[in-house]
Amino acid sequence: METKYINISGLEQWFDAISASGKRIYAPVSARGQVDFMPVKHLNEVAKEYIQTTQSVKASVYPKAEVLFSYEKVHGKVNLTDFDPESVSETVLWKVHPCDAAGFKPLSAIFNWDTTDKLINAHLLKTTVVSYSCATADESCFCTSVNGSPGNVSGSDIQLTILSDGGAIAEILTAKGEALVALLPGVFEADRGDKKEKYLVDLPAKFSLEEVNAKLNKAFNSTVWKEQSERCIGCGACAFVCPTCACFDIQEDTHGSKGRRIRCWDACGFALFTMHTSGHNPREHQSQRWRQRILHKFSYMPERLSVVGCTGCGRCSRACPVDMNILEHITSIAEQ
């Protein structure tokens, strides 16, 4: 790992060099009253004044819908076309916040738990993450309560901390990061000794993960789930904006003798998610589905995958139509 300084025009030149290299660049763009990751060509297209993108960056490695394989039956013989890892383009994710970058670890842990997932690994292999540390936060942010911080480098290949002169401290963290710097090494200057901490938002922790975990271990039959989830209307907004939610559905797109098998996003908040063919539903009530959401992120994942399933980005709280605020709910569990 190496720390460098890059000035404001150097940043623009470097961005143009990445763009010219043929890599796809996804960055936050302001459009339709929202800020979200979209393909960009120039640095001036990247959104400036905002706290957080509405959606997480996860769709770039785990698309909303992706073809697992396609097939065609010709004269009694089935021709199968498997997912081709080579079809994935080299991608740079630009201006990812640390809470989003930290999401790649739990996401990867889920998809590689028992068998390794060809698709997500192909995307991750071809993805380089340039994160921006956070100078601002809002009342939904709580990364510091879930092992993160506004300057956390987990999941990043390069982290930029924007300085008051518009230049940046560039922490080059991985070989992928080095390769990206190598596209225009001349714009990177020696570290000036700028103090990164000075440019980070102060975000005190709101709860202790250990305390929450201890409470959750005894909370399966608690009345808290029903109390908290009464107003939940059972949509999937929280899951779909989340950087770590990985539930999926497998669907068949068949047309006559050919078709595709598609993996698409699903959500544990949906009543249909656990519905059996028999009609029995082990998570019949919304309270059971809410309990699953919380326990999965804060209890099952730390236990089985050694990683907490929440990065404190606060997107679910911002997206919820009925103010199911995860920080408020977790804090109240910790305080019980």
Binding site: Q55, E139, I233, G236, S317, E328
Partner: protein, 266 residues
């Protein structure tokens, strides 16, 4: 506010109702509150910031059970309640409706006729944002409109917040979840999204009361409520509807008459 809280506490204390669905202060804006005891009624609020349509909860069996309940209702919620009643989803014996009128007075409705008379005083209004986008869309030709909506729908990731927030989407199994046959492709993709949204709109024709809950709920900012609002506007003169009032003569696409003026239906 004190009157509302006092009345709510009294209704729970004397057993008139088992549950009061209202609003409390939330972390960013007011949110739904479920009062099952007098103590919790102290949190009740009711003002113009309370925008969730609480009618969405009163058809949820796991929430309301078989008991008589009360709900604090905005004009939008009142309109939804009337439509739910027309569709035989509610009974007067099981529901007490409370509201605070323009003079700040607490009003109680025991019958749906009382609600109907009260709601008739209020004209259905469009917000500035709605009017602005609607005017833009009305100025487009067919191809431009298709392009506009296809673009908007491409942002949809099928979280179904629009469906979940809608008081009139009370089906226990939605058409999008039927898989024998699979009418609608369930994965998110521009055309599959369009299939879902066209289906949703067609199921809302002549039923939608224009509360805007679907548009408010959409996390990706699709002005989805405008589709049904525009349909309502176009249908009103043809089918004799008054926008914002319940379709007492039946829903346009799910009712028929022997004396229909169109030949094809006979």
């Amino acid at each position: 506010m004190e009157k509302l809280r006092g009345r709510a506490a009294a209704l729970l204390a004397d057993g008139s109702v088992a549950l009061i669905i209202g609003y409390e202060e939330g972390t960013k804006r007011p949110r739904p509150l479920f009062c099952r005891n007098s103590e919790s009624t102290k949190k009740l609020i009711f003002d113009s910031r309370c925008i969730n349509n609480l009618a969405v909860y009163i058809t949820k069996k796991e929430l309301v059970g078989k008991d008589r309940i009360a709900v604090t209702a905005s004009i939008s919620t009142l309109r939804s309640i009337l439509q739910l009643y027309v569709e035989n989803q509610l009974s007067e014996e099981k529901l007490l409706v409370l509201t605070v009128d323009l003079n700040g007075e607490l009003r109680e409705f025991v019958t749906f006729d009382e609600i109907s008379a009260y709601v008739a005083q209020f004209e259905l209004k469009r917000g500035e944002r709605e009017q602005e986008i609607l005017s833009k869309i009305e100025g487009m030709n067919r191809e431009e409109r298709w392009k506009f909506w296809l673009g908007e729908m491409s942002h949809c990731f099928k979280c179904y917040a629009c469906r979940s927030a809608c008081p009139l989407c009370y089906c226990s199994k939605c058409v999008v979840e039927v898989n024998r046959p699979q009418w609608i492709n369930p994965w998110p993709a521009p055309l599959a999204n369009m299939e879902w949204h066209i289906n949703r709109a067609m199921h809302m024709v002549g039923r939608c009361t224009a509360c805007g809950a679907c548009g408010d709920a959409c996390p990706v900012g699709i002005p989805i409520d405008l589709i049904t609002r525009k349909m309502m506007k176009d249908m009103a003169p043809e089918f004799g509807y008054i926008p914002g009032q319940p379709a007492k003569q039946g829903n346009a696409l799910s009712s028929w008459k022997l004396d229909d003026r169109e030949q094809f239906i006979r």
